[in-house]
Amino acid sequence: MNAFDGRYGIRRDLSDFLNTYKFKELQFVTACGFENRAPTVLKHLAVRCPQIRISCTIIDLLNRNDPLYQKARRLQRVNISKIRSVAQKRAWSLRWIRANLYSKTLIAHQPVVKHLMETLRAFSGDFLVDISCMPRSIVFPVLRVLWKSSRVRNLFVAYTEDKSVGALETQAAGFRTPRYLPYFRERNTARFCVWLPILGGDARPIKMIKAYMQFNDVYPVVGFPSTRPIETDEIVRLNREIIGEHTERLVFASMNDPFQLSMKLNSEIDELRSSFGKDIRVIISPHGSKPQSVGAFLTAVTRQTAVLYCQPLSYKSLQGSVGSSHLYWLKGTPYGD
């Protein structure tokens, strides 16, 4: 399998990429909630690639069990109609998958993964996953399935920034207790355990994980550089407690380039394993930006680490605003034939 291996990674502005790359056929996976940016990548595809055949899988993120369902549903309807209208105009197939995000366990990925498995039996080719509105509890399993499958020729990830908040997401209304993400559970029984928490705009999940588990060593990851430099200051301010306890072990890694972040984490992990032994347990907690989560995914699959995460209980229905869209090429032809 040819994929990003830490030597170089391909990251582009989405429009530029779509102007150059010629898809033959595409499987597009995205999530639809209340955020304004939900239909953005699909719209880009409609403008730049009107001729190609696209099969769209849309994950419906809302659920009646969500206490904030009514307001979120009202906002989501607008996105649903935009997505339907784009797909209808291009005669693209549309498949809706309902994710049960509010079932108190991390099963949100199951309906999506099941659908992807079915798709992979019938289709081999290019996949584009838009993670802009997708919770990490779905992003990680979806990417893992597509990364491992030999039927995926090229695996692309698209991400649209929220101009109003940058990369610092603060919409979560409470968090569940920490859980290992599906496919990234801890299998290692070694006693020595290192934690790499990727810090973000909300310190609550990091505090919860810290209280939940004992670690021998902690290396907090602070996002730098970033598109909005003030975000690094904010991260330091908001997470001053954990940073204050581990100032000598801070890791600075890119906030908007998943490949740079992954290279940095990989070299840290390699160094730790060469010092403390290959068997040490390494746990990553991706609570930083979405691009950082893609980088954390790359490290988790290439360095076999566990991923411990606090799933938000619900989200405040902030629509946000639409910023620029980016593309990350995770696997496929640019990494060798």
Partner: protein, 255 residues
């Protein structure tokens, strides 16, 4: 760099495997040059170990003739620096008796180096750049209003580590960091505590430092220094007037 190899080698778009195979050969044609001590060439060398040879990384662009001659076969020059604020230090047009003169680090580099090496491309690589400086330099180095290399002997491109948005400037009405009242208060603080002894002949070329050299207006302090693009109330100390600075600046170069 891989994109450059694809372009120069006329490879198919996205043929990164082929470009990567050519990377070592491409790097042999490159020279990496510090434009000030902020470029931290020792750090750069250490991290380029195995790919970039020691003698390909020069600590300073004002090198002697022998040094420059030894790089006569280089085709790509990477000019490294820690910070580009207004871009005035790097490139500007100045009035002189004979008319307008183009000066700054880039013209000085060209004058000193292009007699010894013929570069296909020159890359300006600041670790940090302001959006305003980026736009200004882009305008002055490409397009119809370019003031440098009008005969287009080489390509010029800015490759930065991080860009500081224009909306971080206190002179920008759409400032993202302060609301309009706060922004005006910060501005008035800059005016109220401005000390004209901050200025010398060099800083005056950039319109003074009340709001930062080149009227950049961004409050930025790095671990190793405060750039003069930061308003002077942050970094200017005047012991004669019993004024200390929060982050005292060490002036290390002139225009």
């Amino acid at each position: 760099m891989l994109d450059e190899i694809i372009r120069v080698g006329n490879l198919r778009p996205f043929d990164y495997p082929a470009a990567y195979k050519r990377l070592d050969r491409f790097l042999e044609k490159c020279v990496f040059i510090g434009m000030s001590d902020g470029a931290q060439m020792d750090y750069f060398r250490r991290h380029g170990e195995g790919k970039i040879k020691n003698d390909q990384a020069l600590p300073y662009y004002k090198a002697d003739e022998e040094e420059k001659r030894s790089h006569s076969k280089a085709k790509y020059a990477f000019l490294l620096d820690d910070m580009c604020g207004s871009g005035i230090t790097f490139l500007r047009a100045e009035k002189a008796r004979s008319g307008k003169v183009v000066t700054g680090q880039l013209p000085r580099f060209i004058n000193r180096w292009l007699r010894f090496a013929s570069f296909d491309a020159i890359y300006c690589c600041p670790y940090l750049i302001t959006e305003r400086g980026f736009k200004r330099l882009t305008k002055l180095t490409s397009g119809s209003k370019r003031i440098i290399d009008r005969t287009r002997r080489f390509r010029f491109k800015i490759l930065y580590g991080m860009i500081i948005p224009e909306k971080y400037s206190i002179l920008n009405k759409g400032n993202e960091l302060f609301n309009s009242v706060e922004r005006k208060r910060v501005k008035s603080l800059c005016e109220r505590y401005y000390d004209p002894t901050t200025e010398d002949a060099h800083t005056r070329k950039g319109g003074g430092c009340k709001f930062g050299f080149g009227k950049t207006g961004i409050f930025l302090v790095r671990y190793n220094n405060a750039p003069n693009n930061t308003p002077s109330i942050i970094w200017h100390a005047n012991p004669a007037r019993d004024r200390t600075a929060l982050f005292r600046r060490l002036a290390r170069h002139h225009l």
